[in-house]
Subunit: 396 residues, 2 copies
Amino acid sequence: MTYKFASRMNHLKASEIREILKVTEKPDVISFAGGLPAPELFPIEAIKEASNRVLEEDGIKALQYTTTEGYSPLRKWISNRMNKKWQTNFGADNIMLTHGSQQGLDLTGKVFLDKGDIVLCESPTYLAAISAFKAYECQFMEVATDEEGMILEDLEKVLESHIDKIKLIYVIPDFQNPTGRTWSLNRRKELVKLATKYEVAIIEDNPYGELRFEGEMLPSVQSLDKEGWVISLGSFSKVFCPGYRIGWVMASKSLIEKYVLVKQGADLQCNTMAQMVIAKYLELYDIDVHIQNICDVYKDRRNTAIKVMEQEFPTEVKFTRPQGGLFAWVELPEFMNAKEVLEKCIEKNIAFVPGSSFFPNGGNENTLRLNFSTMPVEKIKEGLKCLGNVIKEMSV
Amino acid sequence: MTYKFASRMNHLKASEIREILKVTEKPDVISFAGGLPAPELFPIEAIKEASNRVLEEDGIKALQYTTTEGYSPLRKWISNRMNKKWQTNFGADNIMLTHGSQQGLDLTGKVFLDKGDIVLCESPTYLAAISAFKAYECQFMEVATDEEGMILEDLEKVLESHIDKIKLIYVIPDFQNPTGRTWSLNRRKELVKLATKYEVAIIEDNPYGELRFEGEMLPSVQSLDKEGWVISLGSFSKVFCPGYRIGWVMASKSLIEKYVLVKQGADLQCNTMAQMVIAKYLELYDIDVHIQNICDVYKDRRNTAIKVMEQEFPTEVKFTRPQGGLFAWVELPEFMNAKEVLEKCIEKNIAFVPGSSFFPNGGNENTLRLNFSTMPVEKIKEGLKCLGNVIKEMSV
C-alpha cells in the first residue's frame, strides 16, 4: 500500500537537533546541543501558587474554550512590556498569542508563502524556522552576515534581482540563533528602509532579547518601522518556561486579523489555563527579578565557555562572544567537518549541533553551535576542554 | 501599502460560529450556537490536585521542552483506552498528541493535501474541518448522507470518477457534528472496503463518541481496517475540558512519523504541563465516573430539547434525535432561511448556527445546528420555545 502524500513531504526531514537530542537524553551526557533553558531556574513554587489562584478564582474560565486572539490581560501586559523594553507603540489588539513562537513561524508561512516564493534569511539562520517555512515549499536565499547583521549591499542586490518572488525577510536581531550575534542600530534602520523601499514584510524573531548580560538594549527593528512592514515574534519560553508553549505575534491590526484567521483553522486557540497562569504569575511576581536571576547564571556560564575555548581551542578556531542569549558559534578550520567532530565527541558523551543544519542551502561543514545555558559551569569546563582536545587531535 | 499574502488567504474567511459566539458573550443570551462542554461539570478540584502533584513530583520536567510525539504515559493510556473502547489494536507508538483535535485536522491537511486535491466529506460536515483543509487550497466534494452515514453508491460514484485528485475521505461516524447522527456498522465496514479498493486514506474524527446516552457503542471505522488506511483523531476537550488543548492522532507508525515531522515545524510539541496534568488526573481519578456524569446531564438536556421541539416546532420542521454527543440538526421548510431566523432570534437573545456553514459548497439555507450541552434545562425550554415561535411567525 502507498499513501498519497502532499508534495511538501518530499522536502521535510527530521530535525537534526531533535535526533541528536535523543542521544543526549542519557543523563551523563554533557550537552551543548539543545536550546533548553536551565531547568533549575524554573519558578516552580510561584507557578504552583499562580495555578491554584487561577483555578480557585476563575477555574471554569481557565478550563473552557477562549478566543483565538488569546486572554486579554496577558495580551495587554505583553504590549506594555514590548513598548517599554523595545520602544514600540502597540496595544493588546496588535497581539495574538501563539503556541510558542514556533507557531508564529508556521502561521507566518501560512499567511505569506506560496510554493516557489522566496524567503530571505541571515546566513546562518534558525534551524526550525527553515522547517516551518519549508512546509510551504518556499525557497531560501541566504544573505551574508557579519558582526553587525546582514550585509546590506548583499541584501539590496538580492531584493533588486528577485523582488517578484520575495515574500519575507526573516531576521533574529538579538543574540541570534545560532551565532549569538546582535545587529547594530544602523543595520536595523537600514533594514527597515530597504524593506519599505521594496515593500517586503520583515519577520523579527526575538525570543532571547531580554537575556542581555551586558551592554545597552537597542530598539527593536519593529520600533523603527513607521509603515507596518515588521511583524515581531516573542515567547515566554526563554524568560519563564517553555513547557507552557506561550508566545505571541505582534503586528499591525490588519495583519493580526490574518493571523487570527489562520490560527482558527490551525488549532482554534492556545491553552486557556497556560495563558491565565502566566498572567497571574506576572500579577503576583516581578518577572524582572526572575530574568535577572537567569541572566546572572547564564553570564557565568558564557564566561566559563569563552574562557575555556580561549584556553583549550587551537588558535585557528574562531568563535563568537555573545552579550546575551543561549548560543555561541564556532568556526573550525575549513578542512574540518563538524559532523565528524561530533561523532568523536558522542563517544565521549559530549554533544553539540553541527552548523550546516543552520544553512538552508547547506555547506559550511566546518561550523558548529554551542548552547551555554543548560549545563552547569563544571560540566561546561569539562565538556569544552574535551571538545578542544578532539579538535586538536583532528587538526594533526 | 499592500502586503503580499499567500493565495490561500483569498479563500479564508472568519468562522461564522466564532463571529456569532462574540454576540453570545453577553451573559443573558441563551446560546445553542457553540460546541462548548458544560463548564459546571469541569473537575476543578481534581485538576488542582493533579496540577499540584505534577509540580511537586516532577516540576522541572513539566515546565521544560519535551518530545514532539508527547508524554509517553499519556500516549500509553490513550492507546489502551482506544483498544478497549473502540476495538483497535494499537500501542503508544501509534499515537502523537496534538494541540486539540483541531490541530489533528490541520496537520492532516499538511501531510496530504496539495492545491487542487479533493477531500470527500459528509454533507453536511464539521465547519472547522472545512477551514483547516481549505488552508491547503483543496476542493471539497460532498457525499449525501442519511440516518446511517454516507450513501455508499454516491461515494463509490465519486471515487470512481475523481480518484486521481481524491486524497482523503473525512468522516465523523459518532454523533456527527453538525447532525448528531451515528453511522451503522454496515456502512462503517463498506466505507473501509471502498477506501481499501480505491487506496484513499480515511480520517475518522471522533471527539464525541464516548458521550453515548443510550444504545450500543459500535466498533470504530479504524478497528475495521486491516491495512492502515484509517487515521483517527481524538480529544480530551469533550470528556475532560477543552482549555488544555490536548487531542491525539492515531495511525500506523509510518503515518505517525509523517505527522511528527509536520508537527515539529508547526509548534514543536504540546504543552508539557497539560499532558502531565491529564496523565496524573487519569492516574488519580476514574474518568469513567466523570464521563457518566457528563452523559447524565447531557441526556437530560437532549431529552428536554427534543420534547420542546416536538411540542413547539411546526410539524413540517424536521430534526434529528441523537443518541449522544452535543448537537441536533434542524431542517426548516425549504422556503425558510435560517440566517433570517437567526437575526430575529438574536433580537430575543437567542443564538444558534445556520446550517449552510456546514456545507463546504454552500446551499441548504433552511438548516441549522442546535447545541444542547451548554445551557441548563430551564434555558433550553425557554430558548427553544422562543425559537419555535419565531419559526411559526415566519411560516405564515
